[in-house]
């Protein structure tokens, strides 16, 4: 894993890192692409692209079912990635790693299966006011079905969670706490150690949405003692269509399956079906095999650079970005969290984020504009949306300078 000194050189030589990403060599509207929309999805390094390509050329076969050579080879590769994910998260057991199609699917799985097992009418689920819709709507749906309610941890004006309010919500009616590690809209890094500890004091399990965390900082599920943790491959240099649910065995074992079908059964008769053990109980149907292979390559890529080194580099870049943005007249940050990762949200004067984003686009600069799938949060800030710049390990200070010049130009044009 991480070995600071051995890995730092790669990031010092950022040009070399950028060479690994074919798309970063491209131009849009005749201008070099400057990609600051990494919170939406990151670009993919060659080794991920090639791993998937090679898989289809040399290994493609269905997993866990064939007697033949290729099927065995595909299954080995597929399961080797599970081990890799286990190590990446420092999970206690391999079968606590469930492949899903992404963060959204993983949260839906837990909402449905955990809900069926543990949630009764009158119970509460705690989420926060700074969640992505993916960590709101599945709980709403489940609560409605189970006759339960949601309690929403309020936000302080700077974008941090109101921990005192959170603490006051914890009682024996609460069956689960589901919050993000890092807010995709504000960049807030939530004190999840504290959130988990407080919940556990009341014997309440916690789900962490780590979609904006695993690409930026080390995550150790045993150290956190988290009960469920979910993320998407595509936001961490891997392919779309693959994500991970980590869950403690004791919960996953007790929860009923989410989807029924092939792969997840032990025996099927028309009267009764018995289910496979973990992890297959939760992996009905043919999985996204090539994407799993791609995810494995993405983890290799991250580990070859070193997640600590990535964290140091991005923290410095983000600080540089924030200082640079402060030089733009009329710019105001939406959310100024105590601790931040990956993301900066802002507005310039009264300019609509869409206008700013469009003028940046014409200069070859990709940012996200809009509500970032966090409409309730935008309502709290009383803004139609924000401009969001989000960094990855391949972004540079020079690109920050291009962004800042682009923003000045947008502000000039919009007058």
């Amino acid at each position: 894993m991480e070995n600071g000194t051995a890995h730092t050189p790669l990031l010092k030589n950022i040009a070399q890192v950028r060479q690994l990403f074919p798309i970063l060599q491209s131009s849009v509207y005749g201008k070099p692409l400057v990609y600051f929309d990494n919170g939406a999805t990151t670009q993919k390094p060659l080794q991920v692209i090639e791993a998937m390509d090679t898989y289809y050329r040399e290994t493609n076969s269905n997993v866990h079912r064939g007697v033949h050579y290729l099927s065995g080879k595909a299954t080995d590769a597929f399961e080797a990635v599970r081990k890799k994910v286990q190590r990446f998260l420092n999970a206690a057991q391999e079968h606590e790693i469930i492949y899903t199609s992404g963060t959204t699917a993983a949260i839906n799985l837990v909402a449905s299966s955990f809900g069926k097992k543990y949630v009764l009418p009158g119970d509460n689920i705690i989420i926060s006011s700074i969640e992505h819709h993916a960590n709101i709507v599945p709980w709403q749906m489940m609560a409605e079905e189970r006759g339960a309610s949601l309690k929403i941890i309020p936000m302080l004006p700077n974008g941090d969670l109101d921990m005192a309010a959170y603490e006051s919500y914890l009682d024996d009616k609460v069956k689960l706490v589901a919050v993000n590690y890092v807010s995709n809209a504000l960049g807030t890094v939530n004190p999840i150690e504290k959130i988990i500890e407080l919940a556990h004091r009341n014997e309440i399990p916690v789900l962490i949405d780590a979609a904006q965390a695993v690409q930026h900082m080390p995550v150790d599920v045993q150290q956190l003692d988290v009960d469920f943790l979910v993320f998407s491959g595509h936001k961490m240099y891997g392919p779309t269509g693959i994500g991970v649910l980590y869950g403690k065995e004791k919960y996953l074992d007790a929860m009923p399956p989410f989807m029924g079908g092939g792969e997840m059964i032990q025996t099927v008769t028309f009267e009764k079906t018995t289910y496979q053990k973990l992890p297959f109980k939760f992996e009905a149907g043919t999985p996204a095999i090539a994407e799993v292979i791609g995810l494995g390559a993405a983890i290799d890529f991250i580990e070859s650079v070193g997640i600590e080194a990535i964290n140091r580099y991005e923290t410095e870049l983000l600080a540089y970005l924030i200082e640079a943005l402060k030089s733009i007249p009329g710019l105001r940050f939406v959310g100024e969290p105590e601790k931040r990762a990956g993301v900066v949200s802002f507005l310039i004067g009264q300019h609509h984020p869409f206008d700013v984003g469009e003028i940046l686009d014409k200069q070859g600069i990709a940012v996200r504009t809009g509500h970032h799938c966090a409409e309730p949060l935008m309502r709290i800030f009383n803004v139609p949306g924000t401009v969001r710049a989000s960094v990855a390990l391949y972004n540079t200070k020079e690109e920050v300078d291009v962004l800042v010049r682009g923003l000045r130009r947008a502000a000039d044009m919009l007058g």
Partner: protein, 141 residues
């Protein structure tokens, strides 16, 4: 002027502008010049909700002519809204219903009419047509 004459006029105006920056500056200028819609008219039934920016459209039918006023909370969208109003407002429902809108593509802003853009412009154009089609059908009765 007919709808197509106005479209052609806009196309030649844009041909005189060189770079994309000049085009955008012109659109932004148009957006600023379009009078804001009276707040009392900005009701939900006149709101065309795009994901990114909002557009309000008000239609008035008198003396056989359909007139539009419109607004948007985003300036570039508002500039394009102003162009659409300039092209389509003040004609008969029949003419509007039958009009083919080509100027947006010709001035290189077709991406604004893509469904994925979700800026409300495409929905606004559809809504303008809908008013016209409904009135034209009524007139035939």
């Amino acid at each position: 002027m007919t709808i197509n004459e106005i479209q052609d006029e806009i196309i030649s105006e844009f041909e005189m502008l060189g770079e994309w920056m000049d085009k955008y500056e012109y659109i932004i200028q148009l957006g600023k010049e379009l009078p804001s819609m009276d707040e009392s008219l900005k009701t939900d039934d006149r709101l065309i909700k795009g994901c990114q920016s909002r557009v309000w459209l008000h239609a008035d039918y008198s003396d056989g002519l359909l007139k539009f006023t419109a607004d948007s909370d985003a300036l570039i969208t508002k500039g394009l809204v102003a162009l659409l109003v300039r092209v389509l407002s003040g004609h008969t429902p029949q003419q509007i219903a039958e009009a083919e809108i080509y100027f947006i593509e010709k001035i290189g802003l077709q991406n604004h009419l893509s469904p994925t853009r979700a800026n409300g412009l495409l929905s606004m154009l559809k809504q303008m047509k809908l008013y016209a089609v409904a009135l034209a059908a009524q007139n035939k009765l």
